[in-house]
């Protein structure tokens, strides 16, 4: 045993020497809370300040987004730390290919990329920190970074529009910008990014908050999508609007949005999946129909 101790100690010493102790302390790192990509190869990093809810921004520009991100990182005084990043903002003009490229860039460059919500928005250097403060408070709709890659040929990204949110429906070779709150809420529910509806609709004449769920029932003749709104609080914002009328107008708007987006070839609501579950692999959903229930 007496022989053994020096050997063990030597092994320990050798390993400790190899390990080294040259790591950066957390205090010397710059904590990145958000990465905002702009339309013209510009990137803005929102960094945590010294006090709570105090953020500052640093911008970088380059020939590509990766270069712009590098340029922004180079301006930091410490090492960039992405472990607490919770928001990524894509340009409002983003298309499907660029959204995926930026998603990959975040996965690769901004390691460790933790749970991050993705939005698209128009921003500039002065408003970026303020934009981040608004976006981080939004619990829903939540579009995680992984959702950009879930489907082969399309994805939905919430579009920040100051007072409400819309959606960017990105497909290969085609981008739809959804700005009506009714359509945006329907998309958020049907693509699983939200289970709550809170919006002003019908040209700002009515407001609704409700919990939303949906179910899909495919048959050979049609695919019935039922959206159930529970705990509905519907209020008319003008005296001329009655609650029943508001409800009808909401239902009409949702029907209109559904008939437009459910039939797109990219199958954004994955209705073919439900048809495949019922009738076997590779089956297409027949004639999608929407039914809305208020409870």
């Amino acid at each position: 045993m007496s022989d053994l101790k020096p050997k063990l100690l030597l092994t320990l010493l050798f390993t400790v020497l190899l390990c080294g102790c040259s790591q950066h302390t957390l205090a010397s790192r710059e904590i990145v809370r958000a990465v905002c990509f702009g339309a013209e190869n510009e990137v803005c990093l929102i960094l945590e300040g010294k006090e709570e809810n105090d953020y500052r921004s640093i911008q970088g520009q380059g020939d590509t987004m990766a270069q712009a991100l590098d340029a922004a990182q180079r301006q930091l005084t410490g090492q960039a730390y992405y472990g607490l990043m919770d928001v990524a903002v894509l340009p409002a003009t983003v298309d499907f290919r660029q959204a995926r490229e930026l998603g990959e860039l975040l996965y690769e460059k901004a390691q460790p990329a933790p749970e991050s919500a993705v939005f698209s928005a128009d921003w500039n250097g002065d408003t970026a920190a303020e934009l981040y403060d608004c976006l981080r408070r939004m619990k829903e709709p939540h579009c995680g970074l992984e959702r950009l890659f879930e489907q082969e040929d399309c994805c939905f990204i919430p579009l920040w529009q100051q007072e409400s949110f819309g959606y960017l429906l990105l497909q290969q070779g085609h981008t739809e910008r959804v700005i009506q709150p009714e359509a945006a809420s329907l998309i958020a529910v049907l693509c699983g990014q939200s289970s709550h509806v809170d919006m002003t609709f019908a040209n700002n004449t009515a407001h609704i908050t409700a919990d939303a769920r949906f179910s899909v029932e495919p048959t050979a003749q049609q695919t019935l999508v039922t959206v159930t709104l529970r705990d509905v609080k519907l209020s008319a914002l003008t005296p001329v609007m009655e609650e029943r009328t508001a409800q009808q107008r909401l239902a009409d708007s949702l029907q209109q949005a559904f008939s437009r987006y459910a039939v797109l070839p990219a199958d954004p609501f994955r209705l073919d999946f439900f048809a495949s579950c019922r009738f076997g692999a590779q089956q297409k959903a027949a004639s999608p129909r929407l039914s809305i229930t208020f409870e």
Binding site: L8, T11, C19, G20, Q111, E115, C277, A281
Partner: protein, 333 residues
């Protein structure tokens, strides 16, 4: 009352196999295909383990013992390298190879007793179950049923799933080395294979629900999913996972070391259930040297070589043992 010295290592073998699933660098198949072939592959692996154990006992010879020992040393260094590369990918410039070796190998000193391996494995198994439940709970809102893929199950898709599941880890062969075989349950290998393949398929299911079509291309998928989970207690669940995975690799290495100890020991009247401390400097030095030699190589290729080598070795033992059985007509066959 006599003390039962039979080592109970089922939990250790299971944890060791589960760690392979958790440390996967990429997924191997869609869940539908995996489910379809899982009963066959689990049965095949269990059967092979059982036949191997029979043949191993039928024809004990130094060449096989040497080859098995080499395979275990090689596998141990691969496990260290795999964990190091995972850490280096996730946290660039923060983890060194020596640091990983140090973290993983030091607990092996404590785990040199077989009783310690068994007890730690039980604790670790419970911790893994709890962490798995926490992972599922935290990920539940992000799992989408519509992410499940519905491919037509063609021969290609099924064979891809079969080859991904039919990885012959050394753990399936290790029970052949354990003492007092007759005291073990009859279906140990069947349970082991069923639980390991079942866990693999279940994990693929969760990942498919999370990643959708992006699943096959996503690197370190379990960790990538774990880091998105956030419970009120664990804001970053990834650390819990990483800690457990490191402990699981330590346990795996301790299990391999115990097997090496049994392969190298001289036959004696008493059963020694602990690896002598005097062997550790040589063991550490050997693994560190191997890791240094292999650290620049492609780990996926090295793992593929390991899989082929284990299959080849198992086939060699089965043929040799089978031949010995036929010629000597021993009762142990």
């Amino acid at each position: 009352m006599t003390r039962d010295n039979t080592p109970r290592l089922f939990a250790a073998l299971l944890v060791s196999l589960l760690a392979n699933v958790l440390l996967r660098t990429q997924t191997g198949y869609w869940i539908r295909a995996g489910l379809a072939v899982a009963p066959v592959t689990a049965a095949l692996l269990a059967l092979l383990g059982w036949v191997f154990a029979r043949c191993w006992r039928a024809w004990p010879n130094p060449l096989f013992r040497g080859l098995f020992a080499l395979l275990l040393v090689y596998s141990s260094s691969l496990e260290l390298l795999r964990l190091w590369q995972l850490s280096a990918r996730l946290y660039p410039d923060t983890v060194t190879l020596a640091g990983v070796c140090f973290t993983v190998l030091l607990p092996v000193i404590y785990l040199r007793r077989v009783s310690a391996i068994g007890q730690t494995a039980n604790v670790l198994l419970c911790a893994l179950v709890l962490a798995g439940a926490a992972l599922l709970l935290s990920l539940a809102p992000r799992l989408h049923l519509t992410n499940l893929q519905m491919p037509v199950l063609t021969g290609d898709i099924l064979s891809e799933a079969v080859s991904a599941q039919l990885i012959l880890y050394p753990e399936y062969l290790l029970p052949a080395l354990w003492p007092e075989q007759d005291k073990r349950g009859r279906h140990t290998l069947a349970r082991l294979a069923a639980l390991a393949i079942g866990f693999d398929v279940a994990m693929h299911g969760v990942l498919e629900l999370f990643f959708g079509t992006a699943m096959p291309g996503r690197a370190d998928p379990v960790h990538a999913a774990a880091r998105c989970g956030a419970l009120s207690v664990f804001n970053r669940l990834e650390w819990v996972q990483l800690l457990l995975w490191t402990m699981a690799v330590s346990l795996k290495l301790a299990l391999y070391l115990y097997a090496l100890h049994r392969l190298c020991k001289r036959p004696g009247p008493t059963e020694n259930t602990a690896v002598g401390l005097e062997r550790f400097p040589l063991y550490f030095a050997l693994l560190l040297a191997l890791c240094l030699v292999l650290h620049t190589a492609d780990i996926a290729a090295l793992l593929a070589v390991r899989n082929t080598a284990v299959w080849f070795f198992a086939a060699l033992v089965v043929i040799g043992g089978g031949f010995a059985c036929l010629t000597s007509n021993r009762s142990s066959c």
